[in-house]
Every structure is written in C-alpha cells, then in structure tokens.
C-alpha cells in the first residue's frame, strides 16, 4: 500500500446518552460505544474491523459516515474533515462514501421496486435527469453485481438472500463511490452464498478501485478480504496489523483468545488446539473497566498497572500496533497466563425491560 490515506479517523468518539425519567428525559450516564479510535485506510485498500457484539465496530462504521453523529474526533476524508461539514455539504459528499448493510431484507424498503430504489440515489444528487442514461446506468450496475436487467421491475421480497445483498451492493455502487463501509456484509447469508458475495466484493474492488472498511465478527472472512485488520474491544482498538501478520502472530491477549476460539473446519487441527477460554462475559460499555479495558478477563493481566493505566496503541513492530503494556513480555513467554475468576456482568445497567412477548417455556 503506497497510496495515501483516503480516510483517516483521529481519536473518534461516539457516546450515547442513557436517558431516564418519566416526563422529561434526564441523562444518567453514557454508553461509550466508540471511545477514541484512530485508524487510516489507504486508497484502494481494505481495512477489516473485527470484534464481538457490543465492541462498537458497527457504531464506528456509522460514525465514520456520520450516520450516527460522533461525539468527538476527526474524520479526514480525502484531505477534508467531514465532521466540519454542514448538513447540505455533507449530504452532497455522501455520493463518495456508501454503505452495505448486514440484513439485505431490512435495508431495502419493501415498497420499492429495485428500479425505484436504485434511481433514488441518483435523484437525490440530481443525476437522474437523462432517462436513457439513467436506464443505461441501472443496467450497468445490475450487471456488475451479477443480476439480470429483468430484476428492475421486481421487489426485494421476491429475491433470495444472496440476490438481495447484491441489490444492496448495487445501490451502494450506483453513485460511483470511493469508499464503501460494509457492515457484516455476509453474516446474514447462507454459508454457500457467502463466498459469492465475498468474491463479488473483491472483484468490484479491483475493477472500480474501491476502498473498503469491512466490519465483521467472522475472523476468517475478515482475514480473507482485508489487508489490514483492527481488533476492537469495548470501544477501543486492541490491536492492528497486516492480515497475515495479525493471524500468524497475535500479540494482544484478547486477539489471542479470539483467534483460539474460532472453530476451524478441520478435525485434526481442532483436536490439537489449545483454546484460551476467557472467563465471564463482555463488561458493559456503559461502565467499562478502568485501565486496560481487557484486564478483568485477561489471563496475562499483571497487578496494578493493567488496572490503573490505560495502554496506548503503540507500534511494537512496523505496521503492528498493540494496546497492551506487556505485549513484548507475553510474546517472549516471560509472562505466563493464569486463571481468571469470572466476574458478574449484567447486560443492562439501566432499569431492565421485559421483552414484548411472553413465551412459555418451550422445554417443559
């Protein structure tokens, strides 16, 4: 990657207020969904963002596109801080940065035919003036995602999951964007279909010179598609490195645990594998642990420093950044893992809500 950065995110924060109160909302705290993330994506590159649910990876993707308004930080897109743009100026910039969603059905308006949902973006930017050119553009985009022109008259519910995701990709492509943020682009699809979409994204990248931010929980998918991979934990980057390097030698204890947990479709490998089982659950992002956010579950955590001092994301090797005080010591085997007592974690801090539907116990 020699090209300069197309997107650079500096110390981005997205905090959601937790509201409480009967008549008038009162802010009682914040969910620190994204809490100071810096990363940069070179033009034509693919940055993969992995992490478990609640780590803030989706919020980061939306914050980067200002679909969720960030609380603080800078987003430099092609040399310009888009956080400083006014509403209308930002709206005009949107044709340069698009999004592909996880659930292809819910992200397509069920009332719109494929034609109308593709034309909509063109109209919003005043690009649908010439009828013949528009129709040519629609066919061209559909063709590029492998759908026939007959799809134009159909509605989203008439397609299979994989085809719907192709429509979602076509919608993102229609404006000729430079950056595409793909939030879990294959996780809602059947296994046999995932590869079709992954290959399509790769083909489109090389033919259209796209820059990708791919957000996914599936480490194997991210490794396959990304050049650089960032691992998020509770709103911060724990580790970032080239895909090969990261998977060959993860340095952060959380990355190590994550890698060891991924099931591999190879019984011989599975039988021999040593799993690093993490104790307990992810702490609440509304009340993240002080110091290193991972210290409550880290088998390598060392007294006091991990608890007291937040580790900076530092470059320990060229292109390999880790937010761990003891990365070198762990890599060299000077610190051994130890048992961790599981802590109690409550999923919600606010007043708990009951689900809408009361389902009888299915098991009895």
């Amino acid at each position: 990657m020699t090209a300069r950065a197309l997107v650079e995110v500096r110390d981005l924060k997205v905090h959601f207020p937790i509201k409480s109160g009967v008549l008038f909302d009162r802010t009682v705290g914040y969910v620190y969904a994204v809490d100071g993330v810096s990363l940069s994506i070179p033009k034509g590159g693919t940055y993969g963002l992995v992490g478990e649910s609640g780590c803030g990876k989706s919020t980061l993707g939306r914050g980067l596109l200002r679909l969720t308004e960030p609380t603080d930080g800078e987003i430099i897109f092609d040399g310009q801080d888009i956080r400083a743009l006014s509403g209308e100026a930002m709206r005009r910039q949107r044709r340069r940065m698009q999004m592909v969603f996880q659930d292809p059905l819910s992200s397509l308006d069920p009332r719109q035919s494929v034609e109308s949902l593709l034309v909509e973006g063109l109209k919003a930017h005043g690009l649908a003036k010439d009828k013949a050119a528009t129709s040519r553009r629609l066919r061209e985009v559909l063709d590029s995602v492998g759908l026939p022109a007959s799809a134009l008259r159909k509605y989203p519910h008439e397609f299979s999951g994989g085809q719907r995701q192709r429509i979602g990709i076509a919608r993102a492509l229609i404006l000729g964007p430079e950056l595409i943020v793909a939030d879990e682009p294959v996780s809602a699809l059947d296994v046999s279909i995932q590869a079709q979409v992954v290959n399509l994204l790769e083909d489109l990248q090389s033919s259209l010179e796209l820059t990708y931010l791919v957000i996914a929980h599936d480490l194997a998918v991210v490794r396959h598609i990304a050049d650089t991979v960032g691992v998020m934990y509770l709103g911060v980057l724990a580790e970032e490195a080239g895909a090969d390097e990261l998977y060959a030698e993860p340095l952060h204890p959380y990355t190590k645990a994550l890698m060891s947990a991924v099931p591999v479709p190879n019984p011989t490998v599975e039988d021999r594998r040593e799993r690093i089982l993490l104790a307990g659950d992810l702490p609440s992002p509304a009340n993240p642990p002080g110091g290193c956010r991972f210290h409550t579950r880290c088998p390598w955590a060392q007294p006091t420093r991990c608890r007291d001092e937040r580790p900076a994301l530092r470059e320990v090797r060229p292109g390999h950044r880790v937010a761990c005080h003891w990365a070198e010591e762990i890599a060299e085997g000077r610190i051994r893992p130890h048992e961790v007592e599981a802590e109690l974690v409550h999923p919600e801090t606010g007043p708990a809500e009951l689900p809408d539907e009361l389902t009888p116990q299915a098991i009895l």
Partner: protein, 317 residues
C-alpha cells in the same frame, strides 16, 4: 464423465421456471391476493359492500318516502298501538306513521356519512399529529414529539364517550356535526400514537439509514420511506375504527346528543329514542336498527382484522 445433454438442461430450466414467481409483485398486491383467499375478509367485504350499495341506492331500494306520513299507517296509530307489517309496508310503521323499512334503508346513508366523515377527520388530524411527532429527529423534533404525545395522553386518559358527551354539551346546539367531531376527536390520539410508534420504529430501520447514506433529503425520506411504511397499521385501525365510530355515533344519538332533526333517519336515534320508548309496544323498532348497527360494525371489524392479518409480514411466505 458424460456431460449433461441438451434436453436435460431444458428440463432443468423448465423445473426452475415452474418454481420461480412471475416477478414484479408488490407487497400490496401480495397482501390483496392473500386477502382475497381469506374467508373472513370475504364475509367482511361482502357486508361492507352491501351496506355501501344500500346507502348509495337508498332512493331505489326504499319502497316509500322516509319522511312522509302515510294514511294507511296513521289510521290505527296510537301511543299503545304502532301498526306492524301490512301490505306495502313489510316492516310496518314507526311512531309517527312513516314507513319503518324506508327509514332503516335511508338510515344507512346517515350511518355511512357519519362513519366516513368521522373516521376521515380523525385519520387526517391523527396522521398530521403523528407525523409531526414521529418524523423529525434532533432537538426540535424531540420537543415537538414530547408536546404532542402529552396532549394525546390527556385525550386518551378521558373515556371516549365522556369526551364526546362533554364536547356535545359545550356546543350550544347539537347537530350531526357535533357527533362527527366528537367521534373523530376520540380517535385522533389513537391514530396519532399508532402512527408515531410505527414511524419511530421505521426511523431506526436499516432502509431509512440506507437512504440517509445515499444522501436522500430528510423530507423525501419521511414522505417516501418512513410514512408509507408506517401507515399500514393505521389503515387497518381506520377500518376497525369505522365499526366503532358507527357504534359511538349511534350511542351519542341514543343518548339524545345527536341531530335533533326528527325527519332525519339515523339508526342510533331510531334505536335510542323510538326503540326504547316503545320497546313494550313494538320491540322491532329497537331490534332492527340494533341488528343493522351490529352487522355493519361486524363487517368493518372482520375486514379490518383480515387486513391486519394480510399486511402482517410474519404471514408472508
């Protein structure tokens, strides 16, 4: 390895084509197709259609003038004797010597008018309020939402009939419009809340987010995505409301809060005023309007429930 021969490929294509849908079927058309297969919907639709037909063709169907008093009927008319069925007057007389059947037939017009206008009025105001509350993000939108919702809370807190009675009482001279406005008013908060709720859910949906990511303007997003996807439950509610509006209007007339014009035929009034007064003399005067109200309300309710079912995305294959 022997490759697949041509006729086998054709067979594959034929089999594949047989399972594929013809394409271009919108959700609405899909829903109406399912509606047409549902016997409940058909029963409801038939009742509603018959009712509308009767109302529209009342002058043709009704054997007599509903306002005129007929000598055949007034001849034996006393407080203790209201003539029943006789030649030319299959349902007999009303307490003033008018043809009861014709009045019942013409009553459908009044009922339809009150139901349609009251529902439409309530729907229009409800949609306006609900849209204002649910459409706009940001600080201003939040305050608007808060304000409108508290007002609807207050309206919902009052029992509907009480609200209507109060309104009728406030207006010096009751007319059919007081009934219409009262019934409409009662339904405004229901429509507003329903629409706002589904708009809030739509606002957070992925396809709205996708439209924002495309750079579609907020106004267009509200009009093209949020509102059309939110009105489904409101339309269903409107159909159901139609049934209750008829009953509420009848109830107000029953209580004597309706149109004081004695010439106007109206089911609620026929039931409430004449029906109750002469219940022991001729109970049919109460039965027939009551049955008419029940059947029509049932028709709209059945249709509404069937529509709810048809529009429910969970029922789609």
């Amino acid at each position: 390895m022997k490759p697949v021969t041509q006729h086998k490929i054709e067979k594959l294509e034929r089999l594949a084509a047989s399972t594929a849908e013809p394409g271009g079927v919108s959700l609405l058309r899909d829903a109406s197709r399912r509606l047409a297969r549902n016997p409940v919907a058909i029963v409801g639709a038939v009742i509603v259609l018959l009712f509308i037909l009767v109302a529209a063709l009342a002058p043709v169907i009704a054997p007599h003038d509903p306002v005129a008093r007929y000598a055949e009927l007034t001849r034996e008319l006393t407080v203790d004797n209201i003539p029943g069925a006789q030649a030319g007057f299959p349902f007999g007389s009303d307490p003033l010597g008018r043809d009861f059947l014709s009045r019942l037939v013409y009553g459908s017009r009044q009922t339809l008018f009150v139901g349609v206008v009251a529902t439409a009025l309530g729907l229009a105001v409800g949609i306006a309020l609900g849209t204002s509350a649910g459409a706009f993000p940001g600080r201003l939108g939040k305050w608007l939402d808060l304000g409108i919702m508290r007002v609807t809370d207050v309206m919902l807190a009052l029992p509907s009939l009480l609200l209507a009675v109060t309104l009728v009482a406030v207006v010096a001279r009751p007319s059919q419009w007081t009934v219409i406005v009262a019934v409409a008013l009662v339904n405004v908060p229901i429509f507003a809340r329903l629409l706002r709720g589904s708009m809030l859910a739509q606002r957070e949906s992925d396809h709205v987010l996708a439209a924002r990511a495309l750079g579609v303007r907020q106004g267009a997003i509200v009009l093209r995505h949020i509102l059309p996807n939110s009105v489904g439950p409101v339309i269903v509610q409107a159909t159901l409301t139609f049934g209750t509006a008829i009953i509420e209007a009848a109830a107000l007339s029953f209580l004597g809060l309706g149109d004081p014009d004695i010439n106007r035929a109206e089911w609620g009034q026929m039931l409430g005023v004449d029906g109750v007064r002469y219940l022991e003399v001729r109970p049919e005067l109460a039965y027939y309007p009551a049955i008419a109200i029940i059947i029509v309300a049932l028709g709209f309710t059945l249709l509404g429930e069937a529509m709810r079912e048809a529009l429910d995305p969970k029922n789609r294959r």
